[in-house]
Amino acid sequence: MPVRRRLTPYLLLLPGAAWLLVFFAVPMALMLVMSLQQGSLTEGYHLTWNWGIYPEVASKYGNLFVRSISFALITTLLTAAIGYPVAYTIAFHGGRLKNALLLVVIMPFFVSFVIRTLNWKMVLADNGLVFGTLKDLGWIDPAFRFLATPGAVVFGLTYNFLPFMVLPLYVALEKIDQRLVEAAADLYANRARAFLRVTFPLSLPGVVAGSLLTFIPAVGDFINADIIGARSPDVAMVGNVIQRLFLNVNDFPSAAALGFLLVAGTMLLVGVYTSLVGSERLTS
């Protein structure tokens, strides 16, 4: 039946397409419609096609986009710098302990994200375990603080998203055929060269997947800025503004516009990134 054969690929696409429609396209469309409304919670919101909201929120909160993206970028680089050696060691030198080590990596996930972040807040408090001790020893200035600084937020993000980097890297590294590295050695590549020419290129799918899994949620995160950032104004991220606009100011259109810009902006950045590194890296 040639007709059925022609339809088969589309039928196979249906579940995925339905998923995208229900969980992405429809919410995005609703958010877009919300952003173009005007009014107040009490008087009700009415669709007025107020496109002017976009330049308005972009100029008001432009620096928060820059801030969020920089935090997320630094976080991604840090998780990669820390995660790569970890994944490499587990994949190539883990031996019998491989599974146990992987378990250790994801172990913190058994405890809620918020609770873990709160604990860091205590550990890193001005006079807490770490800095209190250092201050008592006279090694740092008594007025020194880490909480409520941009560094603290990046620290929190890095800690919380590290496993999202390690696991895809591990998967990519683990399946590299060790004989390829041996072959490189046979061809007079020293270890560094073999790593750069063989292991690293083969692990790129993991790097790409890991950096996307880290960067995308990190850009929109608001928990770290709220808890470790301790509500300091200069660490507020776009997610914090959206949350407060929605819950405290009840300004749904501005919140929706910012949310839409955030998703669109993230997609744009991810699009540029994947087209640079090649999206086949993700699937190979």
Binding site: N63, K121, M122, P233, A236
Partner: protein, 416 residues
């Protein structure tokens, strides 16, 4: 209010976070319902939920966290709140006391869809702040009070606690507790006395000053410091206050803009000075740090109060009146004030606490006597305090209010 000795820092912090975003099943459903309403979808979710609700057995009261006397050593019987238990025993009306309000707007958002649709909310009594009472009353979202059922209020309500701007005849509301938003600071850490709001912006304290996340408190303080009457300030005048705050925020003057979180940091000395609530600092002096002082800024500060109101179509209106009336009985009002230390609406409480202090002293319990001696003068505003403070800004319309909120959000996120 607070009993930090009994609880570890971790417990308190977890409490706070949970309170900042209490996603109980109900509030989650309500938020879903609210978002859905705004988007024109899922209109029926709340009514579906209501349809399968069990028969009512308790009076539902939504209040702010840490706003009632609590005894966490005794076994809850039936609640951990001694003076509320006395009410339950006296009247046989079971009360479900919920610390459900962390933010006026946020809480309002959870009940607004039902009120707008003319449906009952789940609450019989709620405790909104002055301006929120006005908004809800203007929209017809509150039940009118029957004063014949509130004899204690008629007999015992202090003059400063009735006939206020947001409800001039107390048609809809009676005062629960109130206070002043001023400045708390530790003179040893600042190295000098602070007298006015601008002292908070002293560069020497950069990064060690706490602000509030409450727009009205911060804007009132700032407008007063600019010599503008906050009560009648226009959007253009508010803009000046915003510029002043935003400049300071961008320069890193404020360590953060807090709800309740400033308390621990000020007590620990991480903040040398902070915007603060009067009742909190009384508690801090008693329990956590006796060096911290509270001042009402010389150029003016906001006074505020939270109220007991009955939302429209509440199921237990009669029982709700009994609860309102109960809190104007001097006996529970004294217990409450001795514990939380805010401004009480009931006459003569200060004297009663003083008498308790004397009783303790004559029975040899000097610790408790000292405690009540500190609390006694703090539970009612002095004439000076009333004269040096302002009511909150009163907006002409919702658009103005939104403009103020938007401006202040820029401050708390150092935007632009």
């Amino acid at each position: 209010m607070r009993d930090s000795e009994e609880r570890t820092q971790i417990e308190l912090a977890i409490d706070r976070i949970l309170r900042q975003d209490p996603m109980s099943r109900r509030s989650f459903m309500r938020r879903t319902g609210r978002g859905g309403l705004a988007l024109g979808a899922m209109l029926t979710l709340p009514s579906l939920l209501a349809a399968c609700a069990p028969a009512k057995t308790k009076l539902e009261w939504a209040n702010w966290p840490l706003y009632i006397d609590i005894d966490d050593k005794a076994k809850p019987d039936p609640t951990p709140y001694p003076s509320l238990n006395a009410f339950i025993k006296q009247t046989g009306i079971d009360v479900h006391y919920v610390e459900a309000i962390n933010d006026n707007e946020e809480f309002y958002g959870t009940i607004q869809p039902d009120l707008a649709a003319g449906n009952p909310t789940d609450w019989d009594v709620i405790s909104p702040t002055s301006w929120m009472v006005k908004r809800m009353a203007d929209l017809g979202y509150l039940e009118e009070l029957d004063h014949s059922k509130l004899p204690n209020w008629t007999a015992n309500c202090a003059d400063y606690a009735k006939g206020l701007w947001f409800d001039k005849e107390n048609k809809y509301s009676v005062w629960w507790q109130g206070g002043i938003t001023g400045i708390g600071y530790d003179p040893n850490l600042t190295g000098r006395e602070l007298t006015k709001f601008d002292d908070l912006l002293d560069e020497k304290f950069k990064g060690r000053v706490g602000g509030f996340s409450d727009m009205r408190d911060m804007m009132t303080l700032t407008l007063a410091s600019l010599g503008i009457d906050p009560t009648t300030a226009t959007v253009a005048q508010a803009q000046k206050a915003k510029d002043k705050l935003l400049t300071a925020a961008k320069a890193g003057q404020f360590r953060g803009f807090y709800g309740n979180e400033y308390y621990d940091q000020l007590a620990a000395g991480d903040l040398v000075a902070s915007v603060a609530w009067s009742g909190d600092i009384t508690q801090m002096q008693l329990n956590d740090n006796d060096k911290v002082k509270f001042i009402v800024p010389a150029d003016g500060a906001p006074r505020w109060n939270d109220n007991l109101v009955i939302p429209k179509k509440a199921a237990w209106i009669d029982q709700a009146h009994k609860l309102l009336n109960y809190w104007y009985d001097p006996v529970p009002a004294t217990t409450l004030s001795e514990y939380i230390g805010y401004f009480t609406p009931v006459k003569g409480i200060s004297e009663r606490i003083k008498a308790d202090a004397d009783n303790y002293r004559s029975s040899g319990d000097t610790a408790d006597a000292d405690y009540y001696d500190v609390v006694a003068p703090s539970v009612a505003p002095t004439a000076d305090q009333l004269a040096g403070t302002f009511d909150y800004p009163q907006f002409e319309n919702a658009a103005d209010e939104k403009a103020w909120n938007d401006m202040f959000l820029e401050v708390t996120t150092a935007a632009g």
